[in-house]
C-alpha cells in the first residue's frame, strides 16, 4: 500500500513538473514585468518607453566587456514554450537591442549565437559598435540574464548536434542587488 502511494506521488510530481514553466529567475525580479511589451515599437522609438520592466529573448550577436560589466548586442527572438522553453529562431526578428549587465559572465556563455533571456528595465538608446559600425540600439539594463550556450543552434535541437549526446550548458546571471 505504501509503495502504491509512493509511486502515485512520484507520478503526480512528474505530471505537475511537466506542466509547469521553468522558473529561470527569482520571483522578485519578475515582479512588474510587462507581459505585453511591444518590442517593435520600442525598437523604433526607444526613448519613449524608459524605465519599464521587460523580459526579452534573443540570440547573441556580439559582446564586449567594459568597466566591470558586459554589453551584449542581441537579435530579438520570440520566447516559446515548445519544443523547448526559450528563445527560438522562427526566421522572424524585430531587430537588435543592447543588454547592459553590470557583472561578469564567463566567456563560453558570450559566444555568438547563444540564446539569452534578459529581465531588466528599458534605458535610453546607446551607441554600440556592431560590425565596426556605430549603431544606436535600444538598451535594457539587465537585472538577470539566462544564457543557453547553443552557439547558434536552437535549444531543442542542441542535444543532437555533434553526432552524439550533448548536454546544453545554461546559466543564470543576476546583478548583486538581486
Amino acid at each position: 500500500m505504501k509503495q502504491g502511494w509512493a509511486i502515485a506521488s512520484f507520478a503526480m510530481t512528474i505530471v505537475v513538473g511537466a506542466c509547469a514553466s521553468p522558473n529561470l529567475f527569482p520571483s522578485e525580479v519578475m515582479e512588474g514585468v510587462d507581459p505585453n511589451f511591444d518590442f517593435s515599437r520600442w525598437r523604433m522609438v526607444p526613448n519613449q518607453a524608459l524605465e519599464r520592466n521587460i523580459q526579452l529573448g534573443g540570440s547573441i550577436l556580439q559582446s564586449e566587456r567594459k568597466d566591470g560589466g558586459v554589453t551584449i548586442v542581441a537579435r530579438q527572438l520570440p520566447i516559446v514554450q515548445h519544443p523547448a522553453y526559450g528563445p527560438k529562431d522562427t526566421g522572424k526578428s524585430s531587430g537588435e537591442f543592447a543588454i547592459a549587465f553590470p557583472g561578469s559572465i564567463d566567456s563560453p556563455f558570450l559566444q555568438r549565437g547563444n540564446r539569452v533571456i534578459v529581465v531588466g528595465t528599458t534605458k535610453a538608446a546607446s551607441v554600440v559598435q556592431l560590425d565596426d559600425l556605430p549603431r544606436s540600439l535600444p538598451t535594457v539594463s539587465a537585472k538577470c540574464l539566462h544564457i543557453w550556450s547553443t552557439e547558434g543552434r536552437d535549444i531543442a535541437d542542441f542535444q543532437s548536434v555533434g553526432a552524439g549526446y550533448n548536454t546544453l550548458p545554461e546559466q543564470t546571471f543576476c546583478t548583486k542587488a538581486q
Binding site: 513538473g17 535541437d157 555533434g162 549526446y165
Partner: protein, 571 residues
C-alpha cells in the same frame, strides 16, 4: 560686325533658352520638344548612317509608315519630319539611347541629377561648350550605363533568390567532418610475424551529413565511416564463416517530433541507426572522446595474440554493449530535470543492415528484439546521474556482436557525470555495468547454433550463461589560464570482469593522458593532439579444470601501450 555680334548674341540666347527647357528632362523628351514617337523614328532612321544604304532607309520609312497605319498613328502628327533631325548621330549612341528609353524612369533623370540642380553636361550645354547632339550622346550613354546597372542588379537579385532557397543555406542540408584522426601507436606485446609494435594509421575518417526538414522532422542524420567498406564475417550455424556484411554508413536516423506542444515532455521519436543511449561513453561521438581507446565496456579481448574464446567465457573478443544498433525509441525531458529514453532494437550491431534482403524481406536481426530504457536525472544543466537497462533475448547464430550467447540477455547500469562549476574545467564521470549473456556465447565468425554447451554439437564457446561486469571512472581538468592554457590532463581507470563467478580473469587498465586543444568549441569544433599511455593488465582466463593456458606476453591486453593521435573535427 555689330550685326554679326547681335546675331550671335541672339542665337546664343535662343540656344540657352532652348537648353534651359530641356534641362532635367529624360532623354526621351529632349529632342527639342519632340515627343517619344519622334525620337523613336529618328533613332530608327539613323540606325544606319552609311550613305550607301539609302535604299534600306527608304524601306525602313515604308515599314515605319506601315507600322503607323497599323496603330501607332496617335504618336504624333510630326512623325514624318523625323528626317529633319539628320543622320549625323553616331550609330552606337543611337542604339544606346534606344535601349535607354525603356528604362528612362530609372535613368539619370531620377538618379544622376540632383533635385533642382544640373549635371555637368547640362552646364556644358548651357554654356555652349557642347552641342545638343553631344549632350544627347552623353545622356544616352549615361542611361545605357544606368540600364546596364539595373540589369546587373536584377541579375544579382535573381541569384540572391536562387541562393536563398538553397537547402544548405536553410539548414536542410549540412555536412561536416565528424572526426579525422591520425594515430601513432606502440604496443609492448610480442607481436606475430608480419606485424609491428609500432604503426601509423587513420583511426577515424568520418563525414557527417544532417539537416532539419521542419519542426516536425527536426533532424535527419547520416554518418559515413570511410573504413567501413571491409566485409565482416558472419556467424553461421555450422561450418566455416564467410565475409558477408558491410555498411558504408555507420549512422543514419530520422527524428520525428509528432506534436510540438508535447515537446519537450515527449520530445521526439528517433528511428534508424545511431549511438545507443547506453550510459555515457557509448553515446559520445568519437570526435569528442577524452581518451583515444574505446572503453572495455564496448570491446575487450580478441585480435592477434590474444587468447581465443573458451568454456569459461573469459576469452575472445567481448562486446559487452554495442555502440550502435538499429532501433526506434521515444525521448523526452520532464520538468527540465528528468530525461528519458524508451526503445526497442535489433540487438545485432551496425552491420546487420547488410544482411537484409529487400526482395524477400528477410531481416538482419538474429532473434527477438531487445527493449531498453534510460532515465537521467540532472542535478544541474551539465551534471547528472542515470540508470539504464536492456532486457530481452540474444542469439549466437547469425550474431554480429562478439560474446553473445543464446538465451536471456540483460544489462543494468548506473552512470554519472559531474561537471564542476566551482572549479571550471574539471569533469568526472563514471559508469558501472552488469549483465547476463546467454549460454554458448561466441565470437563473430565462429559457427554457433543453440544454447547447448557441447561445442561439437552446437559450436560456439561451450560456456554456460555468464554474468559480466565492468566499470570505469574518468577525470579530466582543462587548464584555461596561464602557460598551460588549453592543456588537459586526463586519467581513467577501468575494470572488466568477463565472468563474475570466476576469479583470475580480470582486465584492468589505467590510462594517463594529456590533450592539447588547438580549437575547443564542442560539440562543433575540436582540433587536438592527444597523448595516452595505457597501463594494461589481464589476470588470465579463469580458474578450474578446463581453463586453457594463458601467455600474457602475446596478449595485447596484458601489455602497456602508447598512443598519439591528432584530430580535426569541424561541423
Amino acid at each position: 560686325m555689330e550685326r554679326t555680334r547681335e546675331s550671335f548674341s541672339d542665337r546664343k540666347e535662343e540656344e540657352e533658352s532652348a537648353a534651359q527647357e530641356i534641362v532635367n528632362k529624360p532623354v526621351t523628351s529632349r529632342q527639342s520638344g519632340r515627343d517619344p514617337a519622334q525620337l523613336l523614328i529618328y533613332r530608327f532612321l539613323t540606325f544606319t548612317s552609311n550613305p550607301g544604304e539609302i535604299e534600306m532607309k527608304v524601306l525602313r520609312i515604308f515599314l515605319l509608315s506601315l507600322w503607323c497605319v497599323l496603330g501607332a498613328i496617335p504618336l504624333a502628327p510630326g512623325t514624318g519630319t523625323a528626317g529633319e533631325i539628320g543622320p549625323s548621330k553616331p550609330r552606337s549612341s543611337v542604339i544606346v539611347a534606344q535601349k535607354a528609353d525603356n528604362t528612362s524612369p530609372q535613368g539619370p533623370s531620377t538618379m544622376d541629377i540632383p533635385p533642382g540642380g544640373t549635371s555637368i553636361e547640362d552646364v556644358l550645354l548651357q554654356k555652349g561648350t557642347i552641342t545638343q547632339d553631344e549632350w544627347i550622346q552623353i545622356r544616352a550613354e549615361q542611361e545605357y550605363r544606368a540600364a546596364d546597372q539595373s540589369r546587373r542588379l536584377d541579375s544579382i537579385e535573381e541569384w540572391k533568390y536562387k541562393t536563398e532557397i538553397l537547402p544548405i543555406l536553410r539548414d536542410k542540408v549540412n555536412f561536416g567532418l565528424n572526426a579525422l584522426q591520425f594515430l601513432y601507436s606502440h604496443l609492448d606485446a610480442q607481436v606475430p610475424e608480419g606485424r609491428s609494435q609500432d604503426s601509423f594509421s587513420i583511426r577515424r575518417s568520418e563525414l557527417i551529413f544532417w539537416g532539419k526538414i521542419s519542426d516536425y522532422i527536426p533532424r535527419w542524420h547520416a554518418l559515413f565511416e570511410m573504413q567501413s567498406t571491409s566485409l565482416t564475417s558472419n556467424t553461421p550455424t555450422s561450418g566455416a564463416s564467410t565475409p558477408t556484411a558491410a555498411t558504408f554508413f555507420r549512422e543514419s536516423y530520422i527524428d520525428v517530433r509528432p506534436v510540438q506542444s508535447w515537446a519537450p515532455n515527449l520530445n521526439m521519436i528517433r528511428m534508424g541507426i545511431f549511438r545507443m543511449p547506453f550510459g555515457i561513453f557509448t553515446e559520445t561521438s568519437g570526435g569528442l572522446r577524452d581518451v583515444i581507446s574505446s572503453p572495455y565496456l564496448t570491446s575487450v579481448g580478441g585480435g592477434p595474440g590474444a587468447p581465443p574464446q573458451n568454456r569459461n567465457g573469459t576469452g575472445g573478443q567481448i562486446e559487452f554493449i554495442q555502440e550502435r544498433d538499429y532501433f526506434v525509441d521515444v525521448r523526452g525531458k520532464i520538468a527540465n530535470r528528468l530525461e528519458y529514453v524508451v526503445g526497442i532494437m535489433n540487438n545485432n550491431n551496425f552491420q546487420a543492415n547488410a544482411l537484409v534482403s529487400t526482395t524477400s524481406g528477410l531481416g538482419g536481426a538474429n532473434g527477438p528484439k531487445v527493449g531498453y530504457t534510460r532515465v537521467r536525472l540532472f542535478g544541474n544543466d551539465v551534471s547528472f546521474i542515470s540508470f539504464t537497462t536492456l532486457q530481452g533475448e540474444s542469439n549466437n547464430a547469425g550474431t554480429l556482436i562478439n560474446g553473445r550467447g543464446k538465451g536471456r540477455f540483460d544489462r543494468y547500469a548506473v552512470d554519472f557525470r559531474y561537471t564542476s562549476k566551482i572549479l571550471p574545467g574539471f569533469m568526472m564521470q563514471g559508469e558501472y555495468w552488469q549483465g547476463h549473456d546467454g549460454a554458448n556465447a561466441t565470437t563473430v565468425g565462429t559457427a554457433a547454433n543453440g544454447a547447448c554447451q557441447n561445442v561439437a554439437q552446437c559450436g560456439g564457446s561451450g560456456a554456460p550463461g555468464i554474468q559480466r561486469r565492468t566499470w570505469y571512472v574518468l577525470s579530466k581538468y582543462l587548464i584555461t589560464k596561464g602557460p598551460f592554457e588549453n592543456f588537459e590532463p586526463t586519467v581513467m581507470y577501468e575494470q572488466f570482469d568477463p565472468n563474475t563467478s570466476m576469479g583470475n580473469d580480470l582486465y584492468t587498465r589505467t590510462i594517463v593522458g594529456l590533450t592539447y586543444y588547438f580549437e575547443n568549441f564542442p560539440p562543433k569544433l575540436q582540433s587536438k593532439i592527444q597523448f595516452n599511455y595505457e597501463f594494461r593488465h589481464h589476470s588470465g582466463l579463469g580458474t578450474g579444470p578446463g581453463t586453457p593456458p594463458y601467455d600474457s606476453a602475446t596478449d595485447p591486453f596484458a601489455n602497456n601501450a602508447f598512443f598519439v593521435q591528432f584530430q580535426v573535427r569541424f561541423m
